[in-house]
C-alpha cells in the first residue's frame, strides 16, 4: 500500500493535544488547542490580540500541532494540520508571514539567531524558511528527510550548529546546520539510537562548563535519555515511570500507559520536568551535567483534579512551570476545544514546588478565561480527554508492525532487573 504515513486513519488522529509555550522573557503565555491560538500578555494582564490580515479567525483552519517562541523573543510560530506555518511578531502579534506546506506540519523550530524557521511535514521531510527573504509569502526549501517516518520534534542546538530531528522510528538525527541551509543539510553529525519506541520530545541542557550541550529525549518506551550529540553516545537512561513508582517492575501496566509525552528543562537544565501519559502531575528529574546522569528528584502530584498535562513550558524568570491539558474535538463533549492551564511555582533544588490554585495563578481569572476559553471546566471531560490523547498518540506513533520485537525487548529488560535484585 502506498504512502503509509498519509493513510493513517484520519478519524483517530483527529483529536489534537493542547499545547503551551512561554515567551523567553516571561512576557507572554500561548496556548493552542484545536485550530485556536490564544495568547495572554502577563505584563499587561490581558489577552494579546493576534492580527492576520490574510485570513479570518481562526487563523488556522485545522488542528495546530506545534507552537513555539524563538530564543531571542522576537518571533512566534504556529503550524499544523491545515498545512500552513504562521510566523508572528511576538511583540506586535502581527502575522509576519504565512508559509504553505504540501503536507500537514508535525513540528517546528526557530534557529537561535532568529534567521531561519524549520518545519517537518507528514512525509518526514524537514523544510527551511529563510526569514531574510523579502516576500511575505515565503517559500520553504527542503532541508533533510527522515525516510517515510513521522518527525515528532525539531530542535536547534543552543550554539545553532546543529538541527536535531526525532521520529517515531526511535531515531534522533543530529545534522550540521549549514551556513547556507537553502542548499540542504547534508552532513549528519550523529544518530542518537537507544530508544525502543517512538521519540516524543527533545530538550537541551545548555552547556555550563563543557563545550557541548547535552541532549535529553523522552519516548514511548517510558524513559528519558541523556545524550552526547557530537558522538551520539547514550550517557544515561532514566526509566522515569519505574523510578517514579508508576510502574511495577514486573511491567504489568497497559502498553504505552507511561509514554513520556513532554520534557521541559528548568534552572538551566538542573531540573527537568517530565510529563507522562496517565500521570496526574509531573516528574522532576535531576540532571547532573558533570557526572552525566539523570535521576528522579521528586514527583509533583496534582491533587483534587484529573489533570494529566499534555504539554509543559518553563518561565525561566519566575521559576514557574506552565502546564496545559486538553484536546480539540473531544468526542461526546460540547467543548470544541477543551483546555485547562495550571502552574507549578517554586521549581528549585531546595524549595518544595507548589501547584498554584486558580486564585493564585499569574494573570488570574482573566488569564484562565483567555487561555482556557472559560474560567472553569467540567472535571470529567479531562479524563476523557486524556484517554483520547493517548489513543491518538498510539495510533499515530506506535509501530504495530513489531509486536514480537517489543515483547522481546521488554522481557529482556525485566530479566535484567530481576538479576540485579
Amino acid at each position: 500500500m502506498d504512502e503509509e504515513v498519509v493513510t493513517e486513519s484520519r478519524k483517530e488522529t483527529e483529536v489534537a493535544p493542547a499545547l503551551v509555550s512561554v515567551h523567553p522573557d516571561g512576557h507572554y503565555v500561548a496556548v493552542a488547542v484545536g485550530p485556536e491560538l490564544r495568547v495572554f500578555d502577563l505584563i499587561g494582564g490581558c489577552a494579546a490580540s493576534l492580527v492576520d490580515d490574510s485570513v479570518d479567525q481562526p487563523f488556522h483552519k485545522d488542528n495546530i500541532r506545534a507552537i513555539r517562541f524563538g530564543a531571542n523573543g522576537k518571533l512566534f510560530v504556529s503550524a499544523g494540520d491545515d498545512k500552513t506555518l504562521k510566523i508572528w511578531s511576538s511583540q506586535s502579534w502581527q502575522c509576519i508571514s504565512t508559509v504553505s506546506s504540501e503536507k500537514r506540519v508535525t513540528a517546528v523550530a526557530i534557529s537561535n539567531d532568529g534567521l531561519h524557521v524549520c518545519f517537518a511535514d507528514k512525509f518526514g521531510l524537514v523544510w527551511v524558511v529563510d526569514l531574510n527573504q523579502p516576500s511575505r509569502d515565503k517559500k520553504p526549501t527542503p532541508l533533510l528527510s527522515h525516510y517515510c517516518s513521522i518527525i515528532t520534534s525539531l530542535e536547534f542546538s543552543p550554539d545553532n550548529r546543529f538541527i536535531l530531528s526525532a521520529d517515531r522510528d526511535f531515531k534522533i538525527r543530529v545534522t550540521n546546520f549549514p551556513n547556507n541551509p537553502l542548499n540542504g543539510a547534508h552532513q549528519i553529525q550523529s544518530f542518537c539510537l537507544g530508544h525502543t519506541e517512538f521519540v516524543s520530545c527533545l530538550a537541551f541542557v545548555p552547556a555550563q562548563e563543557g563545550p557541548h550541550s547535552l541532549l535529553l529525549s523522552g519516548s514511548g518506551d517510558s524513559t528519558v535519555r541523556l545524550w552526547d550529540i557530537s558522538s551520539g553516545a547514550l550517557l544515561d537512561t532514566c526509566e522515569v515511570a519505574v523510578k517514579a513508582g508508576l510502574l511495577e517492575s514486573n511491567g504489568k501496566a497497559e502498553e504505552h500507559d507511561h509514554a513520556v509525552t513532554n520534557l521541559c528543562t528548568t534552572l538551566d537544565g538542573l531540573l527537568v520536568a517530565v510529563s507522562i501519559q496517565s500521570l496526574r502531575g509531573i516528574v522532576l528529574l535531576r540532571c547532573n551535567v558533570s557526572a552525566q546522569t539523570l535521576s528522579v528528584a521528586k514527583v509533583v502530584s496534582i491533587a483534587g483534579e484529573a489533570f494529566i498535562p499534555t504539554c509543559l513550558a518553563n518561565n525561566p524568570l519566575t521559576r514557574e512551570l506552565w502546564m496545559v491539558t486538553g484536546v480539540s474535538n473531544l468526542p461526546g463533549y460540547n467543548y470544541p476545544s477543551l483546555a485547562r492551564v495550571l502552574v507549578i511555582s517554586g521549581i528549585d533544588v531546595e524549595q518544595e514546588p507548589v501547584v498554584l490554585g486558580d486564585n493564585k495563578i499569574p494573570g488570574g481569572e482573566k488569564l484562565l478565561e483567555t487561555l482556557q476559553g472559560t474560567a472553569s471546566v467540567d472535571d470529567n471531560a479531562f479524563l476523557v480527554a486524556a484517554e483520547a490523547v493517548k489513543a491518538a498518540m498510539c495510533n499515530l506513533l506506535i509501530k504495530k508492525q513489531y509486536p514480537s520485537e517489543n515483547r522481546e525487548y521488554r522481557k529482556k529488560t525485566r530479566n535484567d532487573r530481576k538479576l540485579k535484585e
Partner: protein, 255 residues
C-alpha cells in the same frame, strides 16, 4: 541449516539452494513496513550470528573488526559471493527487503561454507528496509564500499522518492561511508542511470572516480557480471549505465 543432501529445496548435485523454491514477488514496496527485527543501534548487531568463525562468542568488545562492505538490495547475492573470495578478510553484508530472497541468500552462504571449509565466512545477509534502517546497522564512517546494483527503477515521477538513490538518502550513505569510501551504482534503465548519476554529482559529499581509477578498480568489473540481474542484462546484450563516486570532505571544510 541443512545437514545432509536430502533437503528438497537444495540441488542434489551441488548442495546449493535452488532459486525456484525462493521465488518471490518481483518488486516490493519499500514504504510499507513488515515484520523483521531492527537492531536498536549498530552496537546491537550480533556479529557472532553473521560471522561465527570471526566471532566465536557474542561478546564483540575485543574485536575492532567491523562490516566494511554493504550490498544494498542484494537480491540473490551474486555480488557478495564474488566479493567474498576477492576480499577474504573484509566483512560484508547484503541488505534485502524480500523475505524469501533473503532466506535464499542465507542458505546459499551456509551451503558454500559447508562445501568450502574456511571460505565465505566473511559474508552475510540481513532482511531489512535499507531506506529506513541504514543508521541502525552501521556506525558513522565505518563502510568503505556500498553497492547499488540494478535497483528497482520506480519510473513514475511520484514514485521517485521510493528510489534507493535519492538526494536525501545520499546524506545517510555519506554518513556511514568513510572519507574515501566508494559508492557503486549500475542499472540497465537509462533514465535511472541518469538520475543516480545526477544525484551523486549534485551532492557536496561525493565526487566521481576518474576513468583511470575506474580501470584500476577490480570491483568495477564485477558490476556487470557478478549479480543475477547483471547476468540477465548481459545475456540480452543490454546496455548498462554506471556511476561510481567517492565520499569526500566538502571543499568548504578542508583546512
Amino acid at each position: 541449516m541443512p545437514e545432509t543432501g536430502v533437503n528438497p529445496t537444495h540441488s542434489k548435485s551441488t548442495g546449493l539452494p535452488r532459486k525456484r523454491f525462493y521465488r518471490a514477488r518481483a518488486h516490493s514496496n519499500p514504504l510499507s513496513d513488515s515484520h523483521f527485527p531492527v537492531p536498536i543501534s549498530p552496537s546491537h548487531v550480533d556479529y557472532s550470528l553473521h560471522y561465527p568463525q570471526f566471532f566465536p562468542s557474542s561478546d564483540q568488545s575485543d574485536s575492532s573488526r567491523k562490516i566494511q562492505f554493504a550490498d544494498i538490495g542484494c537480491g540473490f547475492g551474486g555480488l557478495l559471493i564474488s566479493l567474498s573470495t576477492l576480499f577474504p578478510e573484509t566483512l560484508m553484508i547484503g541488505m534485502e527487503l524480500r523475505d524469501k530472497v533473503t532466506e535464499y541468500v542465507k542458505e546459499r552462504i551456509l551451503s558454500l561454507r559447508v562445501a568450502n571449509p574456511g571460505q565465505y565466512q566473511n559474508v552475510s545477509v540481513v532482511r531489512t528496509n535499507s531506506m529506513k534502517y541504514i543508521p541502525n546497522h552501521f556506525e558513522k564512517g565505518s563502510l568503505s564500499k556500498m553497492f547499488f546494483l540494478f535497483p528497482d527503477p520506480h519510473f513514475k515521477e511520484k514514485n521517485h522518492r521510493r528510489r534507493v538513490i535519492s538526494p536525501f538518502l545520499l546524506d545517510e550513505y555519506a554518513y556511514v561511508l568513510e572519507v574515501g569510501g566508494i559508492i557503486y551504482t549500475i542499472t540497465d534503465v537509462e533514465e535511472l542511470g541518469d538520475w543516480m548519476k545526477s544525484c551523486l554529482k549534485n551532492h557536496p559529499l561525493f565526487e566521481p572516480l576518474t576513468e583511470k581509477e575506474l580501470e584500476a578498480d577490480p570491483v568495477v568489473k564485477l558490476l556487470t557480471s557478478a549479480t543475477e540481474e547483471g547476468q540477465k542484462v548481459a545475456r540480452n546484450a543490454g546496455q548498462t549505465f554506471q556511476a561510481v563516486f567517492r565520499r569526500i570532505v566538502p571543499s568548504d571544510q578542508i583546512s
